[in-house]
């Protein structure tokens, strides 16, 4: 017994070292996986506010660019609205125009504006934080996009902040569609270049050309269908000719994210519950 204690005492530094490393590994495994635990959520309040202060300073330098982006988007939306009305009214009419919606059921997606307060693009698994939380009815698994395309999805929410998994995350696949052919594949980031992502599971019989548009597919309850994702940058066949290796140039510049929309799918609960009533089909 005495020898054992002497042994332990002699190697106490190494034992403490092992203990601390095991503690760290436990934290890494417990907190860096896909769904983060409550611990970081509680801390997000303070960390979020520090991030926000630091972000506020940066905001001033981006104002002109953000303004320009918003103006461009406004113009696009206005053009869309006018093209919808064109059949009924002329541009110079002073009549009031009401847009008719049949029932409330026609509204499936609600968009909420938010600002990115913290963002990373240089890690293999990137995350971002927005300045809206449970107080603004943000919930986990809501999609996030901006005027250029898909940004990511919300992972955890605190009272005033929410944290999202970026598309630039090797563990965040997105279901996407190749527009000319209508084929559905999976977009998953390779972990290196923040401007390019990989598209998997498109078979070689599909003609894919550089410049083809890639949008979100309708096979998910997070994003509306046909939200812009990017364009094809290069296509090669893999060694055993099972699938094409497609690189997609992402339409969103993740290094310059500032204002985003959080998408709530009002039908999500219904869609999910239908899946859960048929447990055999899951996988």
């Amino acid at each position: 017994m005495g020898q054992l204690l002497a042994f332990l005492f002699k190697y106490r530094a190494f034992i403490v070292f092992l203990f601390l490393e095991v503690l760290c590994i436990w934290m890494i495994v417990g907190n860096n996986d896909y769904q983060r635990t409550a611990f970081i959520n509680g801390a997000s309040g303070f960390i979020g506010s520090v991030n926000k202060t630091s972000r506020n300073i940066g905001d001033y330098f981006e104002l002109s660019r953000v303004n320009e982006e918003l103006a461009t988007e406004n113009a696009r939306l206005r053009a869309l609205l006018l093209s919808q009305m064109a059949s009924e009214v002329t541009l110079d009419s002073t009549e009031q125009v009401s847009i008719v919606a049949d029932t409330t059921d026609t509204v499936q997606y609600v968009l909420r504006q938010a600002e990115i307060v913290q963002n990373s693009i240089r890690n293999a698994n990137n995350f971002f934080m927005i300045n809206k939380g449970s107080r603004d009815s943000i919930k986990p698994n809501m999609g996030v996009m901006n005027s250029f395309g898909v940004v990511g999805k919300i992972r955890s929410v605190s009272e005033r902040y929410a944290e999202g998994v970026s598309v630039l995350n090797t563990k965040n696949p997105v279901s996407v569609k190749h527009v000319p052919s209508g084929r559905v594949g999976t977009l998953q980031w390779g972990g290196t270049n923040p401007k390019v992502s990989d598209l998997f599971y498109i078979t070689p019989d599909v003609t894919v050309q550089e410049g083809d548009t890639i949008v979100t597919s309708s096979y998910n309850a997070i994003f509306p269908k046909e939200v812009m994702v990017g364009t094809v940058a290069s296509v090669t066949e893999d060694a055993n000719k099972t699938y094409l290796q497609i690189k997609v140039k992402l339409s969103v510049d993740y290094g310059k994210l500032s204002y985003v929309y959080v998408i709530e799918n009002l039908h999500k609960a219904e869609q999910d519950s239908l899946v859960e009533t048929n447990p055999i089909d899951q996988q």
Binding site: C24, I28, F39, G191, T192
Partner: protein, 170 residues
């Protein structure tokens, strides 16, 4: 001793906020991070016991992790750095030996010694951070390259900051 303690507390109070507020947004060539907070760990007294050092490193790492969204990764790397530092300090002593109450800084032992002391430790720390963060060895060359660039950039900032913070006393 008091003078050293004040210096250490001052460095922690200055570099940790600087790391999470300024240097976090500062990525050179798109690959090189700058972990300037490592100076806090590298400058801890030579006489400090390895266990105390590792516990200090754990909390420093955790503080950085909270802002980098990588809970545990910097902590693990920092504890590892402190464990190695204890042995490295003994293997790599300056020719005249360590003097009592002298922190292992550039101003006390010279630039050549400091680089020999800090470079391997920062490199090991960066390697741990990038490999654990990537989660596998599939990105082996990318992670190694990243760690290399990060080490060089961190070292440059750590050396420069010492000229500002601790001018030569003699």
């Amino acid at each position: 001793m008091n003078r050293s303690l004040i210096r250490i507390i001052f460095t922690f109070a200055l570099l940790l906020p600087l790391q999470v507020l300024v240097f976090r947004n500062f990525v050179v060539f798109g690959t090189g991070f700058s972990f300037i907070y490592l100076l806090c760990l590298l400058m801890l007294p030579v006489e400090m016991s390895v266990i105390t050092g590792m516990i200090v490193a754990l909390f420093t790492g955790l503080a950085v992790d909270l802002f980098y969204h990588t809970l545990g990764i910097h902590a693990a790397a920092s504890v590892f750095l402190m464990f190695l530092r204890y042995h490295w300090l003994r293997m790599n002593g300056p020719r005249s030996g360590y003097e009592v109450n002298h922190l292992p800084l550039l101003s006390n032992y010279g630039l050549g010694w400091f680089i020999g002391y800090a470079l391997p430790l920062i490199f090991v720390h960066s390697l741990v951070v990038f490999f654990v963060e990537a989660g596998n060895v599939a990105l082996f060359w990318q992670s190694t390259f990243r760690a290399l660039i990060t080490t060089i950039i961190s070292l440059i900032f750590i050396v420069i900051s010492q000229y500002f913070l601790y001018p030569r006393e003699q």
